[in-house]
Subunit: 420 residues, 2 copies
């Protein structure tokens, strides 16, 4: 088999550990120099491939690549750019394959969520038809934890840990203030359609420290009266409570509570602002003093409190992607397989992309308490191992030492290509 | 000198390290059992003293008290309850002294900001007049860092570290997304009148990692056109930027950008919501896609990323307060004295309460860059030592192990007292 180069790109919203997957891909490729040439990264994701704006990762030191493991954000840039269907825009897929051919790229590692799994699948399919074989491997990543087959998604565990820890801390704060001042703390968290991140707020309360937490899941139809009654009961019993509200919470008519009317490149509603709406209800309906926070990017960028399990898994899927490529696999995704919860044991399995692309995994009903405001023991058993362990970045003078790569461009070989 | 008991109370907004001061007070008192009897804590701050709702801290194990050092929030409850002037409500001050006398309390340790320094001073003054001597020592605490005389305030360093780290992380995130999506990230931080916390956002960028950060200080009159021009220039140059906006930012007419029209018990405006206002301006004025976050309680409760310097100083002022009391001092506050910045060396000095009460320390003009959107080298030199060092709490199963005390009540000896 002739030696081919590899292409790696990051897609969609970045996470605290997506660079750990990049680290896994690049370090593993470097260990197989006999089979894999250089690793080129797409500058700003798939756009880098379309515009032939490739980054030569061989210009980075082993030390810089190793530091990706503890660096949040997307080291090569990501993008929100969804390729249309083959019928609608075949030219883009053909361009990708032209670029891969021009740079002798035989391996396509695409690090993203459901949309990019779909792109990955299409590239693989078209490359066969076009007679330039590309092994396309999808590397899972999404804080939303909504990819199917894999037990969980790299990126989620660290957000979950951040939300669980932050909710515990803020709830201790509101507990202190409740006698004369704030009685309800409202925290808005990410999760457009699936309530996985909101569920993590439930971990703030545990056997070691019971705290009154009310969760508003996107999966549960919002009933304002029942919600206010729940908060009222919590405050009467404990003197205070915290509310963890998903940005994806919807009114009974289906509209997002937080809908600001704007859309992103994938056509998804751009959300943000459920917390002040909920806080206003609490003030008006119950007359209670509140504070509210919107974690937004802080939650998915918080490498300083990343889950060790998550970091290890993010690295492992990157490494496994390369190993699958070397084993001749195509159109697959390394998936995290849970062997047991207590003790937590996991391994890496293999999922066909056909079964991954464009499917969202919702929270099972059995994970939400009957009243709709909390997590069940089953949910807790699922979530707990994912936030386990700390993996602190190195610090200097009080600040985390994150790496910025040189990101040296690969000389272009093709004429320019106009993006749609 | 007859052996007296001590009283300790927490006042106002709590911090990630106020319990470290409590730990310093209690552990130091326990080392001087020959001179100091029990330490009683006020349940929910000074209200606990007024209503004779005292907590017997001698019921807590040495281990539980030690764990206060790494536990955020206020372990005994705090309150927002400002005693009126002696003329307006002498009965409350007299009640305090009655309660102290009934429980043989000779030491009053009050852990709070400017308002509580004032209360502390008045208690000391009145106790002399009433012939029941109380040594009143104020233990400084405020995330706002606005107490005079002391070089900095315990609680501030940890918020500053949280904001600096979070801003760095979120800025790496927006940098990754900027090509096709979010170009500006807006983070709202606390600081009603003084821009100390906002200034900490400037530490996100340093010699080790330069990042485009725009700061909106409460000290600088907000000029929307100049602000938008600054953001525009940053985005043109770097492709993205972050904006750190103080909740205390004011319109040219003096109104808070975030004013929601509500007031707290001290009559201060309750703020929150500058970030969405600023984000909206960026969208409307520049057409740039944004994300915004409001850190709110998360920032001051974030014990998981506390500054080691801050934790040490919070403990030290608690310890010093007791040592001052034992040395016969009255109406004083332990103050942090900076001996040098490079290398950072500090010690504990003594400030008379008359010079502390009801004074706010603003940011010096020399700490803000000429354009009003950044911090100077002088400011950086001041801030950097305060965020230095990490002081992680212990974790179990992925969650920080914070302590909750038993908070056993001391039997009452007096008739009930009606709060105003």
């Amino acid at each position: 088999m002739a030696k081919k180069n590899a292409f790696y790109a990051q897609s969609g919203g970045v996470t605290a550990v997506i660079n750990a997957s990049a680290c896994g891909v690049i370090e593993t490729c470097r260990k197989h120099r006999d089979r894999i040439g250089k690793v080129y990264a797409g500058r700003n994701g798939i756009i880098g491939a379309l515009t032939e704006d490739l980054i030569d990762t061989s210009k980075e030191s082993a030390r810089a690549i190793a530091a990706l493991r503890h660096t949040p954000g997307g080291a090569f840039g990501s993008c929100r750019y969804k390729l249309k269907s083959l019928e609608e825009n075949r030219a883009e897929y053909e361009r990708l394959i032209e670029v891969f051919e021009a740079h002798n790229i035989g391996y396509f590692f695409y690090n993203g969520g459901g949309d990019s799994a779909d792109t990955c699948l299409k590239v693989s399919q078209l490359s066969e038809k076009m007679g330039y074989p590309i092994q396309a491997i999808h590397v899972p990543k999404t804080v939303d934890n909504d990819l199917p087959i894999t037990d969980n998604c790299p990126g989620f565990g660290s957000v979950a840990k951040y939300i669980a820890v932050s909710t515990r801390e803020a709830t201790l704060d509101v507990a202190s203030m409740a006698k004369t001042s704030t009685k309800v703390f409202v925290l808005e968290v990410m999760g457009r359609h699936a309530g996985w991140i909101a569920a993590a707020g439930g971990l703030a309360s545990g056997e070691d420290m019971e705290l009154p937490i009310v969760i508003l899941f996107p999966e549960v139809r919002f009933d304002q009266d029942r919600f206010l009654a729940k908060v009222d009961a919590m405050v009467r019993k404990h003197g205070y409570c915290s509310v963890v509200v998903s940005e994806g919470l919807r009114w009974p008519d289906g509209h997002f509570v937080s809908d600001q009317g704007t859309r992103d490149a994938f056509g998804h509603a751009q959300l943000g602002g459920a917390a002040p709406v909920i806080a206003g209800m609490i003030k008006e309906g119950l007359g209670l003093k509140y504070h509210w926070a919107v974690a937004d990017y802080l939650q998915r960028a918080a490498r300083h409190i990343a889950s060790k399990t998550d970091v290890e898994q993010a690295y492992a899927v990157g490494k496994a992607a390369v190993e699958m490529a070397l084993a001749g696999k195509n159109s697959v995704m390394p998936a995290i397989v849970r062997k047991s919860s207590k003790p937590y044991r996991w391994t890496i399995g293999e999922a066909p992309l056909k079964k991954v692309a464009n499917r969202e995994k919702m929270m099972p009903k059995s994970f939400i308490t009957r009243d709709g405001f909390g997590i069940t023991a089953k949910c807790r058993e699922y979530l707990e191992p994912l936030i386990r362990g700390e993996d602190y970045p190195p610090y200097r003078n009080g600040m985390p030492q994150y790496v910025r790569l040189k990101n040296v461009a690969v000389p272009k070989r093709l004429p320019a290509f106009e993006l749609r």
